[in-house]
Symmetry: C2
Subunit: 234 residues, 2 copies
């Protein structure tokens, strides 16, 4: 599922990006020996940590994410993680944003040489590209599902999740509005909420082994048909 296209992540403060080696958090594996002389920007080191966090969450769940294990997975010191993200909650919040950005990329990247999509094709593609059996989508969707599930027990991520979901719903509503321009915004929003919630439900069934990915895609296509037919009659 993953999700919502969002505005670009804020650029980290320049001072932090230039933290000299030897500051807290500059662990022994930060400058990888196979990259001699390469000074990584804070941004790339943050990204490396967030990529590792998404992998750990997708593999073992939010509750399986300990800062020590994340440090080992990312190949950095725990101090570097605390330096960049303050605490475990900071890691979780930024990971949520990271997987949203990644979903934005894989659901909207198009080959510039391809013919332009019709509004209907763009709607279908945006939704169906969340249901692909690739390592990246599987990892992203597992992590998103885990972040959603963890919010049932833990309030800390609820606001970020709600905001991310809202942006995603608005994006899908806008695509629906391009297909059915005469439909009122509230009807478009309702259909977009259903389509994105269904996508989350189908993703969980797929990831938990209940249905095959091809069948999940077929069901999603059927829902797009049903919603557009409902909007057309409204």
């Amino acid at each position: 599922m993953a999700g919502p296209p969002r505005p670009a992540r804020p650029v980290p403060p320049a001072g932090a990006a230039r933290a000299p080696s030897g500051t807290p958090g500059d662990g022994p594996r930060t400058y990888a020996p196979d990259h001699p002389g390469k000074v990584r920007s804070m941004s790339s080191r943050s990204t490396q940590i967030l990529e590792a966090a998404a992998r750990v969450i997708a593999r073992r769940g939010v509750r399986g994410l300990r800062v020590e294990e994340l440090a080992a997975e990312a190949g950095v010191s725990t101090a570097l993680i605390y330096y960049h993200f303050k605490d475990r909650t900071g890691v979780l919040r930024q990971t949520l944003e990271f997987i949203n950005d990644r979903a934005e990329r894989y659901t909207t990247d198009r080959d510039p040489d391809d013919p332009p999509l019709t509004p209907r094709e763009e709607l279908e593609e945006t939704l169906l590209l969340e249901l692909q059996d690739t390592v990246e989508v599987r990892e992203n969707s597992s992590a998103w599902g885990e972040l959603r599930a963890s919010a049932v027990f833990d309030e800390v991520l609820r606001e970020d999740l709600a905001r991310a979901t809202l942006v995603w719903v608005q994006e899908v509503a806008a695509l629906l509005g391009q297909v059915q321009p005469m439909v009122p915004a509230s009807a478009l929003a309702g259909a977009a909420e259903r389509l994105t919630a269904l996508l989350e439900g189908l993703s969980m069934r797929w990831l938990s082994g209940g249905i095959k990915i091809g069948h999940a895609r077929e069901l999603m296509r059927g829902a797009i048909d049903a919603e557009l037919s409902g909007l057309g009659q409204g």
Copy 2:
């Protein structure tokens, strides 16, 4: 979400039900002092353990379920849990069945004095009674969502979950068929899969604080309208 109406649970073997006090598993708190002289059947003690398991899973998740804590929550010894359920996996599988049975009850129980429902009303009620802000439904839905989420990481529950989901889908497909009798079974099954997966997705958004229960119900009603309208045109 919770779920699928299922056939009644098999009755435990009679021998086990009559296990005399003093057998392994008959912990000190099994005969509660406030029930002097009351000899509980195995079935009621199993139920007591499963009720506690559903509470623990809904509160802390599947991964928060340790046999020691379950014993404390249920007020029984760990030995009694191993005696009845063999191991933690046995507890999880039986808890899945237990919450299904409970969902079957709260989505189908009707006052016998109420006028009979139309097929459409019965369909709506079966689905919408999974979206109620009561302690029981909230606990059941949280536990079901957790069991589903845990199956992404752990294969042990996948088969039981798939079977339970299939029974639920078939039940909803049968109700759809009563509303739209001329629709082929495959189209009914697809609509039922979508409606139940959407219900899971909406439940997770509700439980994770993303939407209010009234809005979740309204979206669910809209999906029933859209699916029935789609089936009517097919």
